[in-house]
């Protein structure tokens, strides 16, 4: 009976995007398919929101035998997927509508867009709940393929270039991830041949018996592989291109949750490796890549000219921070990293949406052409500003808390050099990012522009995210706290010293 309920839960969770994609293919009407997608996304959101309390109380849910496995860690990712998916679907309606109106896309494109969007959501939903790490890999690879299709939606030169780079780099990266996965599997069957050797549950169970050398090599492959997908430097190179060329809602999803999904995979293997050979090894690697990521992001943001590329680099920075938190370990580090995942997933789409609206209004992505947003579109301007301030870690917005925790844990774990470097980089990023942002938001527009927003449907998703940004800055719901706490316990291998 219980198993049936669980099976049903998972099935219902995965159903909306499948049905949505199907309906989109069948109906093909521009207006309707947008609403269908919104419905699908909101159904997912509602289910995930209902699922969270269950996870908090039951800790884990398994379904269809051992195929699906949901624990608190998965739930954190699911939450971010569903929230971002929902707001992105909302925003898509307005955004794609306007793109259609100004002739950038035609009906065929829109149908393809919504198909892709639904499938994209589906793949990202499966990643965190797949118990079989092979399936997880397959799904991560599938996200790449779907998102490549979404990026090259209009076949513009730059979009094709971005899609190509993304495809090649991500595929190469993910093949390394597969190598790593298979290595872990091999370690597992060498340790104890069991049926579910590829399953996460089985691996965790046997991890202590793994061969240390094998685990080390395997983790390197995993880190480089999924790290490529997660945007850790120096494998991040596809990211600014893909994020800047994709349609804005897709950029938001890419940045807000796709990176998280990939990083989720790293976390899973990090747990196994920690159990097997102790956390020092993987921590060290995570910290090194994190510091490089944050440093490169700082440098690139400083010189950035394109608004969306800047946001993309900011994603690199935040993935670095998440990796840093996991690497530092300890309750503060891991909790901070998970909180950072949530916070980033809330703040970054806000920024992408705002920048999308702004670039539609100004018909430009180059930051030098955008000035005085607050005069032209005051509401969007304020939302943009709040999102930006949140991203650079300004209180009273949400990222401040998670960054504070991560950096604290850095000192606590004795990583003084890394932490000091990161603090330096963060200050630089802060300066660089805000310099661009403030110049865009304030001042007088370069030419006379008609004052006006991009429409309610563009504002609402941003307003939702913005209120989350503010609320999470000063208050985190107890359910979420418990969830993240449980997830941190999973990562640290149970309990904190």
């Amino acid at each position: 009976m219980n198993a049936l309920i669980s099976n049903l839960t998972i099935l219902l969770l995965l159903l909306p995007p499948i049905v949505g994609a199907g309906l989109v293919t069948v109906i093909k009407k521009k207006r309707t398919i947008g609403i269908i997608t919104i419905c699908a996304a909101s159904l997912i959101l509602i289910q995930v929101l209902l699922l969270v309390p269950r996870i908090v109380s039951e800790k884990t849910i398994t379904a269809f035998g051992d195929t699906f496995y949901v624990d608190s860690l998965s739930a954190v990712i699911l939450l971010s997927v569903s929230v971002v998916g929902f707001v992105a679907a909302l925003y898509s309606k307005n955004y794609m509508g306007r793109q259609y109106d100004n002739g950038t896309v035609d009906d065929k494109h829109i149908v393809r867009y919504y198909q892709g969007f639904n499938v994209f959501l589906l793949t990202m939903l499966v990643v965190p709940i797949a118990n079989n790490l092979g399936i997880m890999w397959v799904m991560v690879e599938a996200t790449t393929l779907v998102s490549v299709l979404l990026i090259m939606l209009y076949f513009k030169e730059n979009a094709i270039e971005a899609a190509w780079k993304y495809l090649i780099i991500a595929t190469v990266g993910l093949s390394f991830a597969l190598i790593g996965t298979v290595f872990f599997y091999y370690a597992n069957i060498n340790a104890n041949t069991s049926e579910d050797a590829m399953n996460w549950t089985g691996m965790v169970h046997n991890a202590k018996l793994f061969d240390p050398n094998l685990v080390k090599i395997a983790f390197v492959f995993i880190l480089v592989g999924f790290g490529t997908k997660a945007g850790l430097a120096p494998m991040h190179t596809w990211l600014p291109d893909a994020h800047s060329e994709a349609p804005t809602p897709v950029s938001a999803v890419l940045s807000g949750v796709l990176l998280n999904c990939a990083f989720y995979a790293i976390i899973r293997f990090h747990i196994i490796s920690s159990i097997s050979i102790g956390p020092e090894f993987s921590n060290q690697l995570l910290i090194i890549l994190a510091v490089i990521s944050i440093g490169i992001a700082a440098a690139s943001i400083y010189f950035q000219k394109d608004m969306k590329r800047m946001l993309a680099y900011s994603s690199v920075e935040h993935m670095g921070l998440i990796s840093l938190g996991i690497g530092f370990g300890g309750l503060f580090g891991i909790y901070g990293a998970l909180l950072q995942i949530v916070n980033h997933a809330v703040a970054k789409p806000l920024m992408f949406f705002a920048s999308g609206s702004v670039s539609q209004k100004y018909e430009a992505k180059a930051m030098s052409k955008i000035k005085g947003i607050i005069r032209v579109m005051p509401v969007t301007g304020i939302l943009f500003l709040i999102g930006g301030l949140a991203l650079v870690g300004m209180p009273p917005f949400n990222v401040f808390l998670s960054e504070f925790m991560i950096l604290s844990s850095g000192f606590k774990s004795g990583q003084f050099v890394a932490t000091s470097l990161v603090i330096l980089f963060l200050v630089i990023t802060f300066a660089a990012f805000l310099r661009h942002l403030i110049k865009m938001i304030f001042g007088n527009p370069l030419s006379e522009m008609k004052k006006g927003e991009m429409g309610k449907l563009a504002i609402i998703p941003m307003a939702i995210l913005c209120s989350l940004v503010i609320i999470f800055g000063i208050y985190i719901p107890t359910q979420l706290q418990t969830l993240i706490h449980n997830a941190s316990t999973i990562i640290s291998g149970g309990g904190f010293a």
């Binding site: 599938a142 393929l145 030169e157 270039e161 190509w164 780079k165 495809l167 590829m198 050398n213 600014p240």
Partner: protein, 221 residues
């Protein structure tokens, strides 16, 4: 018995490497494709050997799939996609490192793979012993081809080499994880190749060339 088996394994691995070198050492698109086809056939043979040694029947299916998909379908698809392209697009004229040097580097990469793998315990599993370094070398060489070559086509080929390595690697280590996942991986790869073919087509249409030098608009300087 044991030694003979080992010899077979080593030799088949060596043949595979030679096939890979063939890709590194040639310029023209059709030459690579042939080399790749050859490599895939060897790969499917190796898969069959693994199946024979381990006695798992599913591996024969995988071998068959490999033969069909890799040595027939993928080359066909690539030929189909590129049939309209002018011949000079298909020629790798200007790699970063010359062909001769590429071969030497590839040899070094093979050595590197052996060096890196040395410390992994194999529990005297000869299959792993024989094929793991080979597959590792495949990754590195494939990656090197990707880094070195300047046409979009040769990059697809680099990707294919890596996929082959991956396949060999998975087979050698796991003797077939489970059919479901295996098929999943296959489908992913296939779709990936399809999408890259679409992209290839688009690139040639949009830029009138297959040189990746055209794809350098998005950068930060």
């Amino acid at each position: 018995m044991e030694t003979i088996q080992f010899d077979v394994l080593t030799i088949s691995g060596a043949i595979l490497l030679i096939a890979t070198f063939g890709i590194v050492a040639t310029r023209g698109f059709m030459d690579w494709l042939n080399a790749y086809r050859y490599q895939s056939i060897v790969l499917s043979g190796i898969t069959a050997i693994i199946g024979y040694v381990t006695g798992i029947w599913e591996i024969y299916i995988a071998a068959g799939l490999t033969l069909v998909i890799k040595s027939i379908i993928i080359p066909k698809v690539l030929t189909y996609v590129t049939r309209k392209l002018e011949i000079e697009f298909k020629l790798e004229t200007n790699p970063y490192v010359s062909i001769r040097a590429s071969v030497i580097i590839s040899a070094l990469l093979v050595a590197l793979s052996y060096f890196l793998i040395q410390q992994i315990p194999f529990k005297s599993d000869q299959i792993v012993n024989a094929y793991l370094p080979v597959s590792m070398a495949q990754f590195f060489i494939g990656l090197f081809v990707l880094v070195n070559r300047r046409t979009v086509l040769s990059q697809v080929v680099g990707l294919l080499i890596i996929e082959n390595g991956l396949f060999l690697f998975a087979m050698a280590l796991t003797h077939g994880v489970s059919l479901l996942i295996e098929i999943g991986i296959f489908v992913d790869i296939l779709v990936g190749i399809l999408i890259s073919s679409i992209l290839l087509f688009r690139i040639s249409r949009t830029f009138d060339s297959l040189d990746v030098g055209n794809l350098e608009n998005l950068r930060d300087d």
